[in-house]
Subunit: 487 residues, 2 copies
């Protein structure tokens, strides 16, 4: 710690000031990284661009993109120089992505929904998509081919996009509260689910998901999902074992085409509103599958709006029991309440969670903060998700800023990018870099975020070392490219 300042001496005042700033720099994420000569050079270029963008914002705060709503900022982010650098960074892994909201709406509408045998129908107030041999194959609903919808309504595709995304012109007016936007958010999954369970579409969807991540310089991902009852047009329905076989085969196919891609793991998710019995049988089934696919299945998590369903403590017996065989990756503390839903954080930590999804409420809990730090539990930070889903408006004041300032192991994640018109990880990286780190934080924090995403993944130590080696090659290429283009 810095020595006590002698106020009468101006030199010692400024020295003390520098000492405080240096000590804080060393404490924050990336503060312990020693930069190579090449990194020092690239750092200058990156900080120049960061400063240029922030200086404009200091003069006119409406120029500042991260505190604008993402729907209204995205176009300008696409034109940002800092963003173009971030897109090129090898970002490592994407560790918190929900399988069913991870592919761009463009691909779904323009590719998947233009295939043969796709039908739509309104069921209980939701528009549902599915694949059928003919309209009578599924009698739950009066199915109509999408062709027909498109004949009747020239604007159908735009309407369809809106069913598959939260994007609107004026989000503040459309979504008056977090409760409202979550109800709307859940409908996206209802619309898409049956369509994505069609086996050929599922394969192409996973392939596209990996392609979009790979194009954004992401080399590995862990996907939260459920066992999907994949089907063929002829009525065949695959069981859970076959679901994993098809899933894994698709990943392997992708890896053969892109050998630099490291792989995928699956985190099984159960709705937090289930009964203890349903949870118990779900965990039993998962443990069975985990024995068959030990490398593919990473562990377990709850999904759904955290204000709904049950708090984790309700299930502590079933989960303690399962914790001998399963790793946990709990969503916890994705809430603004204090002393209520945020107590899920206590249980996530007590149940030895491997990572915490969001952990938005964590800084309210000093004992948990110490435990998280001591146990090296990483925090999956999804700033755009938190903004769109109305937890936090201005990322400059997102609670994870304090975690990053204190060197907690934070991993940048994208949650449900298709729901807000994002692809890949770069938009979230941009927001974190421009709003949630010091204006003086440069390449060291970017490097730390990339390395964290590998280190805190569910890979084995051996795999992590291999992944870090691959990443390091890409990182050096990135440095060279930047120097060629910008210097």
């Amino acid at each position: 710690m810095c020595s006590v300042v002698k106020l009468s001496e101006s030199d010692s005042y400024l020295q003390e000031r520098i000492c405080i700033l240096k000590t804080e720099k060393a404490l924050r994420a990336g503060g312990k990284i020693k930069l190579t000569a090449k990194e020092v050079e690239v750092n200058k270029l990156i900080l120049d661009e960061k400063s240029a963008e922030l200086s404009k914002a200091h003069k006119n705060v409406s120029e500042y993109l991260p505190s604008r709503h993402f729907f209204q900022a995205k176009g300008d982010i696409d034109r940002s120089k800092v963003f173009s650098i971030i897109k090129n960074i090898p970002k490592g892994a994407s560790l918190h992505t929900h399988l069913l909201a991870a592919v761009s709406v463009d691909f779904i509408v323009e590719n998947i929904t233009y295939r043969d045998n796709i039908y739509g129908c309104f069921l209980n107030g939701n528009f549902k998509l599915t694949f059928l041999q003919n309209a009578n194959q599924d009698t739950r609903c009066l199915w109509k081919e999408l062709k027909e919808y498109r004949k009747e309504d020239a604007d159908f595709d735009n309407w369809l996009r809106k069913q598959l995304s939260l994007e609107v012109e004026n989000p503040a007016a459309t979504y008056p509260s977090i409760d409202v936007i979550w109800q709307r958010f859940k409908k996206i999954f209802t619309t898409a689910y049956d369509m994505l369970c069609y086996r050929p579409v599922f394969e192409d969807y996973i392939y596209q998901l990996l392609t979009e991540l790979y194009l954004d310089n992401v080399m590995y991902t862990e996907l939260r999902g459920t066992f999907m009852p994949l089907y063929e047009l002829n009525g065949t329905i695959y069981d859970t074992e076959e679901f994993f076989k098809i899933f894994i085969a698709t990943v392997e196919k992708f890896k053969q085409v892109y050998p630099k891609f490291v792989g995928v793991r699956y985190i099984h998710s159960i709705y937090r509103g289930v009964t203890s019995e349903v949870l118990k049988s779900g965990l039993d089934e998962l443990m069975g599958m985990k024995i068959m696919y030990p490398n593919f299945i990473a562990g377990f998590d709850f999904v759904g709006y955290e204000e709904e369903g049950k708090h984790i403590v309700h299930f502590h017996k079933e989960l303690s029991e399962a914790s001998r065989q399963l790793k946990f990756y709990f969503h916890a503390g994705e809430t603004s309440w204090y002393g209520y839903t945020d107590l899920n954080l206590v249980d996530a930590v007590l149940l030895n969670t491997s990572r915490i999804g969001h952990g938005f409420g964590l800084p309210k809990h000093p004992v948990l903060m110490e435990m998280v730090k001591a146990r090296d539990i990483s925090i999956e930070l999804c700033p755009i998700s938190n903004q769109v889903l109305m937890l936090n408006q201005d990322p400059r004041n997102h609670p994870a800023v304090y975690l990053i300032a204190n060197g907690f192991p934070v991993v940048i994640c994208n949650d449900d990018p298709s729901a807000w018109g994002a692809t890949g990880l770069s938009y979230d990286w941009y927001v974190v870099f421009m709003a949630m780190t010091s204006e003086k934080a440069g390449i060291e924090v970017l490097k730390q975020f990339a390395m964290n995403s590998i280190i805190y993944s569910a890979m084995s130590d051996h795999e992590k070392i291999e992944a870090l080696e691959k990443w390091n090659l890409d990182w050096n290429k990135f440095l060279d490219n930047i120097l060629n283009v910008l210097a």
Copy 2:
């Protein structure tokens, strides 16, 4: 710290859980207070009311008042049972209040602006009010009596209220950015300044200010202000020494009528945009006055929008010099920037500030956090100000939540209550209690906030002890009243 949980044993799981929650309770503000038997009883009643209000909000978040904009929540807060309890709490001191925005607009419009000799005029795009013997006495402008304005426009008083307040129907639409609202905010002072410098009005204004605080169960205040050139209609202008004499005499008059009121201190404020020379002569003048009124003048602070003018470091020589004779009460870190304006916090701490105004950016600075804790520097928290002036929308995610959770010495303040239609301290207390403390935090945190406001005031130790004794009598009366009314 709690022992490591044995996951296989359900009892030990729940014991460990309780241990974590108890340890966190002990760490937060008020956590070390031992409640008396009477306080335990009252605590139950208060927590019942707090729970009842929060339970409604859990079910329907739009029922939750603190995260609504204050302009849209105030009417419902007035009807809240928790608020009615808070109004009755002896709240101790109000330590961060700007003299010129501290009296309700009702009093100004209905009382002050209906006096004889009041004139108005548009000057450089601002409406200005003043007192004159006749319109020609001040040739800067074409003054017109307010009587005349009122004859011409039946709605004049409503229009006038809008000049003296930020209140509007739809703040989000009216104020698109923090820069815009600060420009508008500054105009309030331009409108009112000359009017309030009229000596009889100044006396009545101060008297009313103290009355409004006293009626809200506040016993002491420290007011930030400037030397005002008080005047009489006949053209007499009083010098700074006379300004203090008139000010102090008014306070004494109030104390004679309300002997339970403890007193007032003055914190001198200079605009942060001045030159070093102007600051130096301002500090010299202040030190001269401080010798004459050592008990009345508490110290020095900068005022104005923190994004404008100069950062504190610019003045570190002049301020270091003055720090031998003056105490500082710096506004610092009232910003969302990180590594820029928030660095004022570094200088505030280096210059040994006695308290920090807002300190909104403090949790981004772990070294400063340690220094603030070690040096027992208190934080003046003004949640409604931060919401209205667009720093923070939802007080549940205000950074001071983390300070309160870690037992930092936080003092609840009101900043510029008249600008947002508030009076007294109770609205800010309500927001802090309902949004910034745990749902399980009760009377102990309220007691701590009241005591903090006395302990961290500029009073002498001797005066603090006396004030705490007086406060304690009122506190016991409050407990008895609650038990009579609610039990």
